[in-house]
Amino acid sequence: MIAQIGLSILLGGIMAYAFSQYAKAPAIGFAALAAAAAGLYFVWLPSHATWLAERAGIGRGVDLIIYVWVVISLLVMLNLHLKLRAQTELITALTREIAIANARLPPETK
C-alpha cells in the first residue's frame, strides 16, 4: 500500500506537469498524460497489468509498469529538450537585436 501511494503521488505529479505542458506541446502533453494515467491504473489494479502484459507478450505485469515508466521518462526528457529549444529562440531574438543595434556601416553609408 505504501508503494502504491508513493507511486500514485509521483504519477499524479507527472499528470499535472503533462497537463501544464499541453498548451505548448500538445502531442507530448497528451502522450505523457495518457501514459501517466495508464501507470496510475496499473498501480492500483496490478492484476489488470498482468492480464494485459500476458496478451502483449511482455510476461509480467510489473514489467509492463516499468515500460510505461520508461515511456513517461522519455516523454518528459523530450519535453525538456523542446523547452531548451524555446529558450534558444529567446536567446536568438536577443542576439539579433544586439547585432542590429550595433551594426557597423561602411564609411560611405554612415
Binding site: 523542446l82 536567446i91 536568438t92 542576439t95 547585432a99 542590429i100 551594426a103 556601416l105 561602411p106
Partner: protein, 228 residues
C-alpha cells in the same frame, strides 16, 4: 550594375570566413549591391575584413548558426527599406553575376522568390557524395512542402520585400534551408527556380554539409513540429 536593382541588398552569413570574405564582399560591392555580412560569432577577423571590403557588418556575440544569421540580415535589410534581398553564401562558391540573374527573374516571372538551382545548370566538380546528399534532401523537401524544386540547399536566393517579410526562420542551423521552402509554401506567393553555377573548391567542400548533418536536420525539423 545589376539591372533594375536600386535597393538590392545582399545578405551574407559568415562564420570564420576570413580567408575568402574580403573577396566575396568586394565582388558583390563592385556589382553595386549593398552588402550586409552577418558575422555569426567568428573567432577570426571575418567582421573586420568584411567591413574593410565595403559591407555593413552585424555581429552576433555568440555563434548561432547560418539560419539565425540570415534572419538577422533579412530583418536588418527590411528595417532599412530594402526592396529586394539576395542571400549569398560566404564561402565563395556562388558567382556575383548570378545574383543579377535571380533579381531579373523576380520581375520577369512576377515572383516573390527566385531560387538558385545548381541542378538546372552545369555544376562542374560536384562530388558524387554531395550530389547524392542533395538529391535526397530535395526528395524529402518536395514531399514535405509540395514545392517542385530541384535544389533545396542552395544558398543563392532573391526575395522581394513582400517575400522576405514572409520568411521567419526559427531553425538556427542548417535546417533553415528546408524551413525557407516551408515558409514559401505557406506564403502562397509565387516562386521561380533559376539555373546558377556553384563553384566547388577545397575550401567550400570543407565547409559544406556532410551525411551526418542530414540526420541533425531531420531531427531539428521534427522537433520544430512538436512545439508551438
Amino acid at each position: 550594375m545589376p539591372p533594375n536593382t536600386p535597393a538590392a541588398w545582399v545578405i551574407v552569413a559568415a562564420y570564420n570566413e576570413a580567408p575568402v570574405i574580403g573577396r566575396v564582399v568586394a565582388e558583390l560591392a563592385g556589382c553595386g549591391y549593398r552588402v550586409v555580412v552577418v558575422d555569426d560569432g567568428s573567432t577570426d577577423a571575418t567582421g573586420a575584413l568584411a567591413l574593410t571590403a565595403g559591407a555593413a557588418v552585424l555581429t552576433h556575440p555568440v555563434n548561432l548558426g547560418q539560419g539565425a544569421a540570415l534572419q538577422t540580415g533579412i530583418a536588418f535589410a527590411l528595417r532599412r527599406g530594402a526592396d529586394t534581398i539576395v542571400t549569398f553564401d560566404a564561402d565563395g562558391q556562388h558567382r556575383a553575376g548570378d545574383a543579377a540573374v535571380l533579381i531579373t527573374a523576380l520581375a520577369a516571372n512576377s515572383a516573390d522568390f527566385a531560387l538558385g538551382s545548381r541542378f538546372l545548370a552545369a555544376t562542374p566538380a560536384m562530388p558524387a557524395s554531395r550530389r547524392l546528399l542533395l538529391r535526397a534532401a530535395t526528395a524529402f523537401t518536395r514531399l514535405t512542402t509540395g514545392l517542385h524544386v530541384t535544389d533545396t540547399h542552395n544558398g543563392l536566393r532573391a526575395l522581394t520585400r513582400r517575400g522576405a517579410s514572409r520568411i521567419a526562420l526559427r531553425q538556427n542551423r542548417m535546417a533553415h534551408a528546408s524551413e525557407i521552402l516551408h515558409c514559401i509554401a505557406r506564403s502562397g506567393l509565387a516562386y521561380v527556380e533559376v539555373p546558377v553555377t556553384v563553384d566547388y573548391n577545397a575550401y567550400s567542400l570543407a565547409k559544406g554539409q556532410r551525411f551526418s548533418d542530414s540526420l541533425r536536420i531531420l531531427l531539428d525539423l521534427s522537433a520544430h513540429r512538436l512545439h508551438r
